[in-house]
Every structure is written in structure tokens, then in C-alpha cells.
């Protein structure tokens, strides 16, 4: 029933929910990041590399960035809708943002698994 509510009747609810879920994912990751940083206190390149190395951590980090860019997409979209009244200009800006976010996500994957 909830699924039906989210997909058919109120499609906007999906975006609303995506914004919230991505926010929660980021909040949890941030706290985890802070805790790990406080516990391990990586000093120097080797320690920093080891900090980012575990597979489970890379996957969580990718999940964090996916959430971040989904969240940013929704947020920037609202901002553009509120302040950019010229439709053509808004479409151009929104497309630019879309492309940028996809590039960022590729960049993140290269950072995490590139070597």
C-alpha cells in the first residue's frame, strides 16, 4: 500500500522520500567517518591510505556519495525552480548540474577503485 502511494498516486512523494533516505544515509556515514577518524587518527600517507582501503569502507563511501549527489540533485533542482524563472536558462543550468553530478560520481569511483 505504501509502495502504491509512493509510485502511482503521488509520484512527488518518491523524490521527497529519496531526499530523506539519502539524508539519513549521509548522516550515518558522517558519524561513522568521525568515529573512525577519532579512533584511528590516521597520520601520514600510509595510515590515510589504510583508512580508506577496506572494501566495506569503500562501498559505504560510494553509497555516501551516491546519496550525496542524489540529495544535491533534488536540492539544487528546488533552488533553480525557485529562483530561475526563465525556463530555457533553467533547463540549461539543470542539465549542467545533472552532467556535473554524473561526472562527480564517476570521479568518486575512480578515486575509490582507480588503482
Amino acid at each position: 500500500m505504501v509502495i502504491e502511494l509512493l509510485t502511482k498516486k503521488y509520484p512527488g512523494m518518491r523524490l521527497w522520500l529519496a531526499q530523506r533516505i539519502s539524508a539519513v544515509v549521509m548522516a550515518v556515514y558522517t558519524v561513522l567517518f568521525g568515529l573512525r577518524l577519532a579512533i584511528k587518527q590516521p597520520a601520514g600517507y600510509e595510515a590515510w591510505q589504510l583508512f580508506m582501503a577496506p572494501s566495506w569502507w569503500r562501498i559505504l563511501t560510494l553509497l555516501f556519495f551516491i546519496s550525496l549527489y542524489m540529495h544535491a540533485w533534488l536540492g539544487v533542482r528546488d533552488v533553480l525552480k525557485d529562483y530561475v524563472f526563465n525556463l530555457k536558462l533553467r533547463v540549461v543550468l539543470q542539465t549542467l548540474v545533472d552532467v556535473l553530478l554524473i561526472v562527480y560520481l564517476c570521479w568518486v569511483s575512480i578515486i575509490l577503485w582507480g588503482n
Binding site: R20, G44, Y45, W48, A72, G75, V76, V79, I111
Partner: protein, 128 residues
């Protein structure tokens, strides 16, 4: 007659005369900090790339971070982060109907401001 009245109706969109209530201040700052965090993404990814590129990149990055101007910028960014974080948690709380009365909303707004100030202060002390 009615038309003339409609035309004469005053607009009050002068930003200098509108006094925003604290909840609105939190809200617009949430939006502003969100935009800032979006705009600095390339810098964040660049820093991550360079710091993980090898010992030389890491050393260059740490040296750069020692500069006082960069530390000031980091502190400003930490404000954007902490504000977006705490104000976002406040929004989530309101989504599940916590603190939705006017009085409680004002209280949680003040709480957000205090937590942000405290977090930025701790962050500044840690990096300096």
C-alpha cells in the same frame, strides 16, 4: 473599482524591511549551506584525489592545509556542513512530527544554532 484596488495593493518584498523569524533564518541558511556544499564538491574530490595519489600528493595536501587562509576557509566550510547537518536533522525530526508547535520549533531552532556554533568551535580548535 475592484480592479483599481487590486492594482494598488502594496507589495512588501523589500528584504530590508522583512524581519525573518528564527525558524525562517534556520531554513534559508539550510538552503544557502546546501548550495555552498554543492559548489565545493570539485574541491573536495580534488583534495581526496591528491591526498590518496601517493606520499608526495599527501605531503603537498597537508602542507597546503597548514596555511592560515585555507584553515579559515575550512572553518567557513565546516559552518556550512554543521548547519546543513543539524538543521537537516531538525527537518527530519519535524517530518516525524517532533517539535512541530511554534514554541518547540523556535526552541529547536535555537538548539540548532547552539550546536552549530559549538561544533564549529571544536572543529576550529582541532585543526588549529
Amino acid at each position: 473599482m475592484q480592479k483599481a484596488q487590486a492594482i494598488k495593493r502594496p507589495k512588501n518584498l523589500n528584504l530590508l524591511t522583512i524581519r525573518l523569524p528564527i525558524n525562517a533564518v534556520i531554513s534559508i541558511m539550510h538552503r544557502m549551506s546546501g548550495v555552498v556544499l554543492f559548489l565545493i564538491q570539485p574541491l573536495l574530490l580534488l583534495a581526496l584525489t591528491v591526498s590518496l595519489s601517493g606520499p608526495d600528493g599527501y605531503a603537498a595536501m597537508t602542507e597546503l592545509m597548514q596555511h592560515w587562509l585555507l584553515k579559515l576557509m575550512l572553518i567557513a566550510l565546516s559552518w556550512a556542513f554543521f548547519h546543513h547537518f543539524y538543521a537537516g536533522l531538525r527537518h527530519l525530526a519535524m517530518d516525524v512530527h517532533w517539535m512541530t508547535s511554534l514554541q518547540k520549533a523556535r526552541l529547536s531552532s535555537r538548539l540548532v544554532l547552539c550546536l552549530v556554533a559549538l561544533s564549529v568551535l571544536i572543529f576550529s580548535i582541532v585543526i588549529w
